[in-house]
Amino acid sequence: MAEETLLTDDFLRQLIHVGEVDILVGLRTHNNAKTIEPVIRAIQAGILKCFPRERSVIVNADGGSLDRTQELIVGASIDDVWSVSKVYALRTLHSISTRYAGSPEPGTALRTILAAADLLRAKACVVISPDSTTIEPDWLQRLIRPVYHDNFDLVCPIYSRQKFEGVLMQNLLYPMTRAIYGHRVREPYASEFAISGRLATDFLTRETWNDERTRIGAEICLTIAAITGNYRVCQSFLGPKAQPDRSASDLVAVMRRTVGALFTSLDSNFPLWSTIAGSQPVPTLGSQSEVMLEPVRVNRKRIREMFAIGVAELEPVLRSILSASTLSELQRIATLEVSEFNYPPDLWGKTVFEFAASYHKSVISRDHIVQALVPLYRGRTLTLLLENRDGSGEEIERKLESLCGDFERLKPYLLEVWADRK
């Protein structure tokens, strides 16, 4: 088995000490000491409150934290939670931690957690982000219950978000996954999710882990594996998503993890997705997504400038990726001022599909193709900002639905350029 080489001897000893479990809670960390304590408390409270009879374990896969993250997780006492919740667990709640080999990488951390779940024969495995400062104890119930009691194999989250947060998710990952694989999963790249033991075991044997492009985006590959493997997928509403630290986000790295992995998945799944038309909803527990209308401060002029410079400077690169008509349309948009700027959804869909086809054909280095999409994504972001400046939640939702419809309508175009790039 792969886990024999993946898991260290010390970690294996810890797992043997824990024994078989019903629920495994996975935490992937790397220098998360600032936020980890409330997350651990919420997890412990959630287990005590909703699953007091189940054998549970918290497994931390750490990428080499230097800020005592591991100590905080292993040392978190459950006594405080008991005194607050007045509920006592009927089983011991173990907390174990391991430092996985290699550089910090969410994909390797996930693999470690899934391998632990496989070894401990966990019926349900839930992964929680260490940055989720808005986590409530109920999140565990909402994620685990569908797997543990209703035989679902993958539970993806739905959050209430600020209207301009999750732009890549709403403008590319969700519409494209939906159009390609025919399932309306709102968060195909989830930071919190639950999976069944059998899906975890199956996913561990996939090729995903051997290719760096898919390994770094294992979350989206997991969603795709569940859909294409005919596993039972559902969504569960959790609540507000924690506001990420904007200064810490590296857009190019995010694009590699998400868009790169999604594009790569198209190669091996072509026989499957090429026959799918339209999309179907997946069972959703709790509310549908909610949009919060808090204002956001962004320099629109600067985003327009970054888009225009990108289109101008990257012209030779874009010429090898895009069709002549799409490129000339982008060049026209790049001349528009902020007040009249508009990157329409159908052109955005065409752009993304032409990028996917060029990625498939490796017209240039695949990593360069993903990087070349970044300035164009900024242009689409600007349109979103301008369109939805005063938009209500319903309007934003309607526009998102329309964008998804455009992606689905353009799928024959993807098949066309896939076969023979225009």
Partner: protein, 234 residues
């Protein structure tokens, strides 16, 4: 007197006939070698073309920027050019092999030199190809990174990287070929040194205020502004 002339003429004709009889079989062997060489070279050309097509060499060449250069020079495609190269090298090799059969002492040395030169020519071509490939790859990588970091002169940076790597590859090619070795080394050193010196002077003396402002903007405020303009993608 008359007899002497006749004897000498007869002797000369006999020598000529002997010489001709001596060289004719060798000439025939040379022609046969040249013909067989042509057939083998043609077959090698077909084989090379098939292998290059199977390995999608044209795509690699396109990525390296070699196709663009060839188009601009109105030359055939890289696959065609390389298979022709294989043909000519093989055929010329066979012709020279045939010529060596003639036993002309003066030519032997040149023929030996040609065969010694072939491996170096091949290595030089490989270096040139991979040099162009590296120049295109790294200049494109620099362009993308610079654009995504909102760097103002990204195209200039990219072109500079391409030129530096290309010059470096060319100097290596000339060194391998042994052509104007020292001139190339000096020229490369002079060009590279001049570029670096002018950059140092421009930033260090001529535009120290601009350079300071530029660096502050890029490394301190610029980064912060860029990040703040980034909405959470996930």
């Amino acid at each position: 007197m008359r007899e002497i002339i006749i004897t000498e003429l007869t002797q000369a004709f006999q020598d000529l006939a002997r010489g001709f009889a001596h060289y004719l079989p060798r000439l025939i062997v040379m022609l046969i070698i040249a013909f067989i060489g042509w057939v083998i070279a043609y077959l090698l050309k077909l084989l090379a073309r098939s292998i290059l097509r199977l390995t999608k060499f044209s795509k690699l060449s396109e990525n390296a920027g070699a196709t663009q250069l060839l188009n601009q020079a109105a030359l055939p495609s890289s696959t065609e050019l390389l298979s022709r190269f294989v043909f000519w090298v093989a055929w010329v090799g066979f012709i020279l092999l045939g010529v060596s059969v003639l036993g002309i002492v003066a030519l032997q040395e040149y023929i030996a030199q040609f065969f010694l030169f072939l491996p170096r020519l091949f290595v030089a071509m490989v270096i040139l190809f991979f040099g162009l490939l590296a120049a295109t790859f790294f200049s494109r990588a620099a362009l993308l990174a610079a654009v995504n970091m909102n760097f103002r002169s990204s195209r200039l940076l990219s072109i500079s990287i391409r030129i530096i790597i290309s010059i470096f590859a060319l100097s290596m090619v000339f060194e391998v070929l042994g052509v104007a070795k020292e001139t190339m080394l000096i020229a490369f050193g002079a060009v590279f040194g001049a570029v670096m010196l002018s950059l140092a002077i421009a930033f260090g003396i001529g535009g120290k205020d601009v350079a300071r402002e530029f660096l502050e903007r890029r490394l301190v405020t610029g980064r912060k502004e860029d990040k703040e303009d980034e909405l959470s993608p996930l």
